[in-house]
């Protein structure tokens, strides 16, 4: 009986709900660190995309101005 009890406690595959997940990471709240870091990278890259957008718009204006000058 004692060994069976120990088996249930130790064996992570015992029972279907016992699949190992990063529960500890979540319990400690450290998952939020990961989420924040990923969000910083994502927003940074998207911000950069907006800057590129602006740059291309500026170039478009420059070229259309040049076109008017030459015509």
């Amino acid at each position: 009986m004692k060994t069976l009890f120990a088996l249930i406690l130790i064996n992570p595959a015992f029972g279907q709900d016992r699949v190992e997940m990063a529960d500890q990471l979540r319990a400690e709240g450290k998952i939020y660190v990961v989420v924040t870091i990923i969000l910083i990278v994502l927003t940074g890259l998207i911000f950069y995309l907006f800057l590129l957008d602006k740059k291309v718009k500026k170039l478009e204006k420059l070229v259309s101005d040049k076109k008017k000058q030459t015509n």
Binding site: V19, T43, L59, V63
Partner: protein, 222 residues
Amino acid sequence: MKTWVKILAICLLLYVHIGGLLLDVPRLNILNETVRALYFHVPMWFGMVLLFGISVYYAVRYLQNPSSNFDIRSVECANVGLVFGILGMITGMLWANYTWGSPWHGDPKQNGAAIALLVYLAYFILRSSIQNEEQKARLSAVYNIFAFAAMIPLIFIIPRLTSSMHPGSGGNPGFNMYDLDSKMRLVFYPAVIGWFLIGIWIVSLRVKMRELEEEILDIEHG
């Protein structure tokens, strides 16, 4: 590209990156927590296929009406699609390393995707090997149709006929294996739409740059 579409794409991606890491996922053996990689790995391939689809659409439009506008759109969609595909390949290899045991398994879908990427790489080699602009556009538009027609069976049909470890292949159920209560779809589909829109955004920037290049050349020669 309209600003509201860009904002929509950003909101979807912010939601995907928060929800993808924090919302509940099914507890599955072997996959464990890595099941979340589905939210980031698979949208790359969906994005690639959608972008290649737009690329072949413009290739057909070019053959109907040879205007360089269609050619530029076709090649830039293929370009960004290839980037998505390479990202999908790298993420897939990393995921496979930890769930299947090694990065390359000779899995039919993995092999098919690799061949499809090589077919599209050859598209760019073909383009760079022709000097004449019209010939380049026409030949590569024809090749684009063949490349798309080769990619669909390589990625979607052959893996279903043989045994593959990818879900949705070789008798494996599609996403049903993961989302017993379709919780994962709530993050997965926004991820596909979000990344696809970001892809279109980058395409639109590249198209603008190419058109500017042409205009500048026109001014210089005109």
